[in-house]
Symmetry: C2
Subunit: 420 residues, 2 copies
């Protein structure tokens, strides 16, 4: 076999390995999504339980904990599958580190539940603690999206991550509103937080729309949520406009919880469809790459005139000017020269990299914004919503993009005093 | 063992695998650097041979081809080492694709040499053909730098790549000047090309300075090249200011070739030192990571209060505000809690990623500029130097950075007609 062909085959094997890895990561994402969903329900019920001073919701919460535990067992089994000598080498160091952190959170969940049982924590605190655990789990999904090397799968993972993050904001909204409805009156922090969560949800769903398949975006838009949304919007209005300390009229905690839950359950169904689509895409791409591998292995390219190497455009030039051709890279390899095959593959890899670059820059921006927010929270003792608001106001007054403000905040990190 | 610790260990194993991979890639870079050096000498001699109409330099060229072949055998052996089932899985698809393309070039070298033997090509054409082969080999080095995941090794690879690219421009300068001195008179294309090559060399060496270790940068600055440079600058001035078609006075092709060669040989010695530094760095980092792995494997972290998970800053917040601490992440693990270990590692990985981002953005910019240049060359039938000049003029007149102009050029790719 010509040495060039051997390397083309090796390159294709790399792609297949990466696709196998993505399939495993996607299975992990599936189980994490299920666990997050159960933890979100548990958070809602724990809030109601605490706000009712333990008088109600105990049974519901207890059976929900059972469901959370079952989902957690699924995630742990998935982690175990990954944590083999073999898996360790394939997946990146950062994904493992994220998993290690999430596992710390799952360990800590046991004592958190005991504190809730004993009513030794407030609804707001319990809610914040569970949100942190969920955020550690979401970070695993984020990392999975960030490490994906196939552009379309990467896009779908970014869409899924944003949808899950949006759903988590919806879950926090449910918890925040539940606490106020259960207390019978709104408070100013709760109201501000609610508005922040609604706003954050909408931004996530917008990014979801950018990266989702048209089919899934349409499915989300046509999901049977209109009626729920009307009820929810009415209660959102009531809880955010009732003066703090005044009684909440026209809806009770049950109504709020049900409306939010109905919306979140709808989101969960879409989420399941997104995961199914993702897993199908992984299978499809892997099958396609395996077929291409077989074609390469069976290929008997003609040598072609050597001088072609010197006279043809280089793969880089081609990639810049000739993307459309890359669609036809495979399938008609009969009678093609070795150089044709090499150039096809180089072009295709370059096109893939260009697409990945687009997807990753969106993740990178999010990372910068989150970290700048974290910095402001740590150094100025701000709540998350206050930190976000500060940055948005800076962006507006300076007429800059949010990510530029985040970069400026992070650049100041070295001159700020340490928070500890 | 606590599951969290298992994942920390798995994450460390990933790092070690990546470092092993980098050591292999660096060994490949070493052999490629040697081959490029020999091909550069061969190009110089082939030019002199062609320009003298085959009357001189035949023996020198013939023994140089022997040295090129020996270096090529070294590269092929390195490629063979990589191309195992095992290697295919570790290194990326793109590196393999680059190697496949470079192998096509090495195949084509045989017939190119025959054309030169038969004087069936011009000095300029032979020079351009060999430059293209060298550029395919440099692309392998570029890809190695781009795929490195350890920030310091990545910086050194970027420094090395830029140094090698600068040396290649010096080699092209030697060939371009040799042709004019051997012909006894300058021509306008040759003169323009020479100025472009001098300018490109200087830009590469500047980038080299940004990413090299201070020791290597100092070594380059103090390299015994002053005397050579005086001679070279004098001859550069003569060949670029003598009116085209007028005889070149005050220096002959032998003087030019010797001065350039002396400079390139100095560069080669620095290049060897850079490679040695790189290989040493790989060994050092691997040893360090293995020690950290042993420490982790022997660690018996205390459980620590679970509530710490909820009360401590998240790893992301820490990474943004607390980089200095990451220096002390390892070495005093006694009495540390599991959460300490998890947070240390997350922080360290985040700091590594931040550094990598900086290095990669420099590579990314170069990639965009090269591709925009390739596009202009293909669509407007421009020479490389004319394409570069066009972009630089656009940048100056629009007061934008070169990379912004490149982005604008690439964005127009879709509306330009296909070059074929």
């Amino acid at each position: 076999m010509k040495p060039g062909l051997r390397f083309l085959i090796a390159a294709k094997r790399c792609e297949i390995t990466e696709l196998d890895q993505l399939a495993r990561t996607s299975a992990l994402v599936e189980s994490v999504a299920r666990l997050i969903h159960e933890l979100q329900r548990e958070r809602g019920l724990s809030n109601l339980y605490l706000a009712s001073c333990g008088r109600r919701w105990a049974d519901e919460r207890s059976s929900q904990i059972g469901r959370s535990d079952a989902a957690q067992a699924g995630v742990l089994a998935c982690f175990d599958d990954l944590d083999t000598e073999d898996g360790a080498l394939r997946l990146g160091a950062r994904l493992h580190a994220r998993i290690a952190y999430a596992l710390q959170g799952l360990d800590a969940l046991v004592t958190l539940r005991q504190r809730i049982d004993a009513q030794a924590t407030s609804p707001a605190q319990a809610s914040a603690d569970l949100a942190r655990l969920i955020s550690a789990l979401l970070a695993v999904v984020f990392e999975a999206a960030d490490s994906a090397t196939e552009p379309l799968i990467s896009r779908r993972l970014v869409a899924l991550f944003n949808f899950m993050q949006g759903k988590e904001f919806a879950g926090q909204e449910r918890a925040t509103g539940s606490a106020m409805y259960a207390a019978g009156e709104p408070d100013i922090q709760g109201q501000q937080r609610l508005l922040h969560l609604i706003d954050s949800q909408e931004r996530c769903l917008q990014t979801f729309g950018e990266f989702a398949s048209p089919a899934m975006w349409a499915r989300w838009l046509s999901a049977p949520q209109a009626e729920d949304l009307v009820r929810l919007e009415r209660m959102r209005r009531i809880v955010s406009t009732t003066p703090p300390g005044q009684p909440l009229c026209g809806a009770n905690s049950q109504d709020w919880f049900d409306a939010c839950t109905s919306r979140i359950d709808t989101m969960r169904r879409i989420e399941e469809a997104l995961v199914a689509e993702l897993l199908g895409l992984c299978r499809e791409r892997t099958a396609c790459a395996r077929l291409e591998l077989e074609q390469l292995q069976a290929a008997t390219p003609s040598a072609g005139p050597d001088a072609d190497f010197f006279s043809r455009p280089t793969p880089t030039d081609l990639a810049a000017s000739d993307k459309a051709d890359s669609e036809h890279a495979y399938g008609h390899q009969l009678g093609r020269s070795m150089l044709d095959l090499v150039q096809d593959q180089a072009r295709r890899l370059q096109a893939m990299e260009d697409e990945l670059e687009t997807v990753r820059s969106s993740l990178h921006e999010r990372k910068l914004i989150e970290r700048a927010k974290g910095l402001l929270m740590a150094h100025r003792q701000l709540s998350e919503e206050a930190a976000h608001k500060t940055m948005r106001q800076m962006a507006m007054s300076q007429n800059r993009r949010l990510v530029e403000v985040a970069e400026a905040v992070l650049a100041m990190a070295d001159v700020l005093p340490s928070p500890r």
